[in-house]
């Protein structure tokens, strides 16, 4: 039994922290709310660090690292609210590599940005592959690959869609049969992306419409791999959220030691202290579940849906709690743009509603356990 980070993982994490410290990404997150164009493009940083090809095998030009390594990088991005566009790219790159796509090398190098247009796999209650609608609580059917080999459908709130050079789309087949993963060129006339920004300017999102788009189908990618891509995105989003939780905790603890009221540091009051310990408790739980997800992906793939969903729900809830505590521990200051707290709150509020949302992830935890009971 050994769950400690390896020397290589410590190096990867420290290098990521260092690379992301060269730009003040938190300040950038604030400015971008009013001026989205001012957001720095961190993609060159990602490429230089080798993150674009992190999950691509060495034979295809990538680094061949594991899912937990990718999570470590996502955590670092989350710590400083850096928008690095890996959430869409990494799961897509993994499918491209698996399917032997000719674009894999460019994607691994980062000269082409990939974007996963994921679909939520069927569960023990809903038996279809579904995607986010533009509004409302009803999910819609995943895009469909026609018998003519063309792709139709609309998927909303897709992370990193607006910068993508290539889309990897999980689609159902008109003639029946299982789901497939298809590759659509970003320049194809049958695809259009409407960029959208809500509440958190660091999160690049898009509504993607396919209207008779030409595709190439990825070989050797079946229902299990399509599902795994969805859960991989869940795990990566969980890791990113956890990174933000860590910053919220550290910032709050530091302030609680130096802010005095009634002659005492506020961290000595139990209401404050216990709430900070609650952040720590939620952080520890979420980190343990990320470890579970990282381990399951490699060693117990049957448990990956459970582990990734649990991690997503736990980390999202932790960030929700931590970002609110960050505000309240800072009192009036925490509610203003003078402080970073609102930026973490914005991150939390949007993140928890993406890719099915926390409710969906929590339901999936129950569904997986009930199905196995």
């Amino acid at each position: 039994m050994n769950l400690e980070l390896t020397d290589e993982q410590v190096f990867l994490r420290d290098a990521a922290r260092d690379a992301l410290s060269r730009v003040d990404t938190v300040a950038a997150a604030r400015s971008a709310i009013e001026d989205p164009a001012s957001l720095p493009d961190l993609w060159p940083t990602a490429c230089a660090a080798g993150w674009a090809g992190l999950l691509v095998g060495e034979a295809s030009g990538g680094a061949g690292l594991g899912v937990f390594d990718a999570m470590l990088v996502m955590m670092e991005a989350g710590r400083v609210l850096a928008g690095v566009a890996l959430l869409g790219h990494l799961p897509a790159s993994e499918l491209l590599d698996r399917g032997g796509s000719s674009v894999t090398g460019d994607v691994a190098e980062g000269s082409v940005r990939a974007c996963l247009v994921a679909a939520r796999p069927p569960g023990d209650v809903v038996s279809t592959w579904t995607v986010e609608a533009s509004a409302g609580s009803v999910r819609v059917e995943a895009p469909e690959l026609g018998e003519d080999g063309r792709l139709d459908g609309r998927v909303c709130w897709v992370p990193d869609a607006s910068s993508a050079g290539v889309f990897v789309v999980v689609a159902t087949q008109a003639g029946g049969g299982g789901p497939v993963a298809v590759v659509v060129d970003g320049d194809d006339s049958g695809v259009s992306v409407e960029p959208v920004m809500r509440f958190d300017a660091t999160r690049s999102l898009g509504h993607v419409t396919f209207a008779g788009a030409s595709v190439s189908v990825l070989d050797d990618v079946g229902a299990d791999q399509c599902a795994s891509a969805w859960y991989l995105a869940q795990a990566l989003l969980a890791a990113e959220s956890l990174g933000s939780v860590e910053t919220a905790l550290e910032t709050s603890v530091a302030y609680a030691k130096e802010r005095f009221t009634f002659g005492r540091a506020i961290g000595s009051y139990q209401a404050v202290k216990h709430s900070l310990v609650e952040i720590l408790r939620l952080r520890e739980n979420a980190y343990s579940l990320l470890v579970y997800a990282g381990w399951a992906y490699e060693d117990a793939p049957d448990e990956f849906p459970l582990a990734a969903s649990a991690a997503r729900a736990a980390a999202g809830h932790a960030l929700d709690y931590a970002s609110r505590a960050l505000i309240s521990v800072h009192g009036g200051l925490g509610a203003t743009w003078e402080h970073d707290a609102p930026l973490f709150f914005r991150r939390a509020q949007l993140s928890r509603r993406l890719l099915g949302g926390l409710g969906d992830a929590t339901d999936r935890v129950a569904g997986e356990l009930l199905a196995g009971a």
């Binding site: 769950l3 343990s288 356990l369 009971a373």
Partner: protein, 410 residues
Amino acid sequence: MDLNDSPEQAQYRAKVRSWLQEHRSEAPVFSGQDEQESIAARREWQGTLAEAGLAGVTWPVELGGQGLGAVEQVIVNQEIARAGVPGILDVIGVGMLGPTLIAHGTDEQKHRYLGPMLHADEVWCQLFSEPAAGSDLAAVQARAVLQEDGGWRLSGQKVWTTNAHFASFGLLLARTDPSVPKHKGLTMFIVPMDGEGVTVRPLRKLSGEPDFNEVFFDDVALDADAVCGPVGGGWGTAMTTLMFERLTIGLGSEAMGYRAERFAQAIAADAHARRDPEVRRRLGEVSLELLAVKFSGYRTLSALQQGQIPGPESGLAKITTVRAAIEAGDLIADVLGPEALEADSEWSHMISYLPGLKSAGGTEEILRNTIGERVLGLPPEPRLDKGIAFSELRAAERAAVAAAKSGSRS
């Protein structure tokens, strides 16, 4: 990221598993007989486990243990749970009080007491808490007075003492000097439970089970060699016990049986509930907390294997386990209805056990204070009891309570 046993651990696990396979028929069944019989059977089973080297795994070899690490202890716990047989009866003795004797006792004490404790020939109890000293353990009032012959006379009351009704000995924290501040005037004693002047009165727990007690000491005579650790150093000795208590609770969480799969099974049996969104949300929330605790446990083990000792943060797993299990009990009772509260149901037992578990081994509030201060480095609350002689402190407390009472009456 490796959850597998090392080759040596795998070998050890295989050895433990095959022994349990071979001897499981000798194990007592969990319920069905009266308390006396059940205790006798579990004593005998602990003796059998001890003979096989499955009790006192981490105790030194020269004191009858196996001289192995915490990881091996966890392997034994896991295999015992897997075999579906009871573990040792005297978890408090072997897990907490024995290690305290090993750390602080004299050679004579170790040789006299540890062997019979390990084999459950003599069961032990922890005589720490008192009516006015639980969280604030250093406020104990049980008074031991030194006699001219070097012996002691003990008077006072302990409470919530698990297993006292069949224990042979207790480790007791007493005040030996009220004229100094409260943490300083304490001493730890080994007390024979059949001594003259010792009275054990059973207390029923919420569940109805009479497995803990209040214990009265009326001028009980103790020999000089009943002292464990330094006279006046009882607080340090008690801290050792509480450290082992944390370890025992931390490493034993899997054995408590609060597993996500178990609760999912209970819900899955109800075709309507298993599709109800609200039931699923609640089950999902409970389950992810319990899955997190399971992997936190693996992280603790991994750290132990790298030679680290778990700190106060391991209390977080206790908080999470108890909360999640309480939620799970609520959910299952909501789904099953009043039938879940039927006296013999496993859920009724769990539901009535958990509120007490929230206090046992450190209340949630105390754990949060400790973790906030020791792990996050937050400042402690101001204290009104520092540096004041215990006798003065008690007088001030009595005056405050009297003032509050007359105030509320007027």
